[in-house]
């Protein structure tokens, strides 16, 4: 199947954010001594994001932005890729080669000049597979120079290795096309500074990941065509692009407007880089919920603690428990979603690893009815996360983001307010 994406897909609206003044500590004194502030330039740190049906027209609650990539060091050999999914559940930029047009990016090799490849597993048991290349990533006024990015295509140079295919080679499902992915790529801006499973295993991801071996099916080299799990150089390990920015690099703020309970055709908001670094990304009244080493926190519902809960802009609904446990109803049409006769309201308590607690209220409406609207943005879309009370998490997807400022703090970076969050945090 040949898939072409439209080169004129609409660019996401870039917010015309005016460069802000940095407020210097100690400016409030009445001393007449003149202090010359250090030269500070603040970058335009916001890009527009849109919740719409995406390039394939089937995505609901998909949050997309536009990313510009250039050959390293070039300001002219560049292309702008629209409809890239903003994913706080992963780290690193992955782009479909079909969206890059004629732009050619240098591949990353190991010391024996083998091209570095990456395999990414999804909980849907699908995978994406392709080489790691180097690019300068530009978003608003921010730049991640010589970043490792993954290039995915429907016809990769090497066959996907069996060790990455959890169900074996027959019938494995890939997301290597725009049709399957529903986007032109994934912009991973989560809690981890790097896309390195190895550092998750060792317990903390704040120090640079220099190795990715140890039998983890993630990074590969393919000498003589036979792909094997490999220890790849640091240059081959994808980074959260935000962590590579020279400023505004300690996390992101995702800001989406409220939408009505009946849904809305689309919604537009912003992705703002940095936390507490400029006037447009101050924490304000948001509370910091530190995550554990697995980027999770605890949600308590009806007296039961679900200690592996998380917020994820790459999840398109609120996925929690199951219909039997909740007194909810599974949909007749939309498999896996909830279809209560009347909208159900829930109140849960979230607790961070730093002890912060706070209540969250949300609703689930009838998903079959919501989908009939043809809209893309729903704040009350809920679905089954699997089992009954033994299910160990709530997955707060895009519905959680509407009408909130949601901050994602990167592990190992500066935390505003001096809160203890060695593995990163959420704030809202």
């Amino acid at each position: 199947m040949t898939l072409k994406i439209s080169p004129v897909a609409p660019l996401s609206r870039f917010l015309g954010v005016v460069a802000c003044l940095i407020l210097l500590a100690g400016c409030g004194g009445s001393s007449s001594t003149t202090v010359t502030p250090p030269p500070v330039t603040s970058a335009n740190n916001a890009v527009g994001v849109d919740v719409d049906l995406g390039p394939t027209g089937y995505f609901v609650n998909g949050i997309f932005t536009t990313v510009e990539v250039c050959a390293p060091g070039s300001t002219t050999n560049c292309t702008s890729v629209p409809d890239v999914l903003v994913d706080t559940g992963s780290s690193g930029l992955r782009l479909l080669s079909s969206a890059l047009g004629s732009l050619s990016l240098p591949s990353v090799t190991d010391s024996s000049r083998n091209d570095v490849q990456e395999c990414v597993q999804f909980i849907s048991l699908a995978y994406i597979w392709g080489p790691v290349a180097q690019a300068d990533i530009h978003m608003a006024g921010e730049t991640a120079s010589s970043a490792a990015v993954q290039i995915i295509s429907e016809s990769p140079q090497y066959n996907v290795p069996l060790s990455c295919l959890t169900l074996g080679s027959s019938g494995a499902v890939d997301y290597n096309t725009v049709q399957a992915l529903g986007a032109n790529g994934i912009l991973g801006v989560g809690n981890y500074p790097q896309d390195c499973t190895e550092c998750t295993i060792s317990g903390i991801c704040s120090s640079p990941c220099t190795s990715a071996a140890n039998g983890v099916p993630q990074y590969y080299i393919c000498p003589s065509g036979d792909c094997q799990i490999a220890s790849v150089p640091a240059t081959g390990i994808l980074s959260n692009p935000v962590a590579l920015f020279s400023q505004d690099n300690n996390g992101v703020l995702i800001s989406l407007p409220t939408v009505p309970a009946t849904g809305q055709a689309t919604a537009s908001g912003s992705l703002i880089f940095g936390i507490g670094t400029q006037s447009n990304n101050a924490l304000g009244s948001a509370q910091i919920y530190a995550t554990d080493a697995y980027a999770d926190f605890t949600t308590t519902y009806n007296g039961t603690r679900y200690s592996d809960s998380f917020i994820d802009s790459g999840s398109n609904a609120l996925y929690f428990l199951d219909a039997a446990t909740l007194g909810n109803i599974d949909c007749a049409d939309a498999a896996g979603f909830y279809c209560p006769a009347e909208t159900l309201n829930f109140t849960v308590t979230n607790t961070g690893a730093n002890g912060t607690t706070g209540q969250v209220t949300f609703s689930t409406a009838n998903a079959d009815a919501l989908f009939k609207t043809g809209f893309a943005a729903f704040n009350d879309l809920g679905g089954d996360s699997g089992t009954g009370p033994s299910s160990d998490y709530f997955d707060f997807g895009i519905p959680f983001f509407y009408g909130r400022n949601v901050f994602v703090g990167i592990a190992g970076k500066t935390v505003p307010n001096g809160a203890s969050a060695p593995y990163g945090y959420w704030a809202y």
């Binding site: 909980i123 849907s124 048991l125 019938g171 993630q218 980027a295 994820d312 699997g386 089992t387």
Partner: protein
């Protein structure tokens, strides 16, 4: 609940054994252990026991065994998705079919639920978890909720 047995470490090289676990006898657990090159610990609980295999690359797999010696459930928590073909054995076909027929309208946990088989794949990148069990193989007075 009492933890029994120490640690057995088996190092095997070469092709993974063509074994299966879910729905099979307890002896098939050792095939998974060999495949994962992991340490195993057995825990006895009321009405069942479970083997916990911990591999050097961070995967933790639990296999739940009934008093009749059959594996009625498995659960995992791992930085990557473990080899489900190996762990699910004959049940992996159902999961394959469901994985191929799912639509991307649902962007969240992957659930397969039939009268005699329940499968859940969830979590997120670098922290995957999931479980599978066969309701008809659950021991008497043991709830499916123990599989986690």
């Amino acid at each position: 609940m009492k933890t029994m047995l120490g640690v057995l470490l088996i190092l095997t090289l070469g092709a993974p054994p063509a074994g299966a676990v879910l729905g099979e006898y307890e002896s098939s657990v050792s095939l998974d252990q060999q495949y994962m090159r992991g340490e195993i610990r057995v825990t006895n609980a009321q009405g069942y026991k479970f083997h916990q295999i911990t591999s050097p690359n961070g995967a933790v797999v639990r296999e739940y065994v009934s008093p009749e010696g059959k594996v009625f459930g498995i659960a995992w928590k791992s930085p990557f998705i473990p080899n489900l073909q190996q762990l699910l054995g004959s049940y992996s076909t159902q999961v394959q079919q469901a994985a191929q027929s799912q639509t991307r309208r649902r962007g969240g946990p992957f659930v397969v639920r039939t009268n005699d088989f329940v499968f859940v794949s969830g979590g997120h990148m670098q922290s995957f978890h999931g479980l599978a069990y066969v309701p008809s193989l659950l021991p008497q007075n043991v709830s499916a909720e123990v599989v986690r």
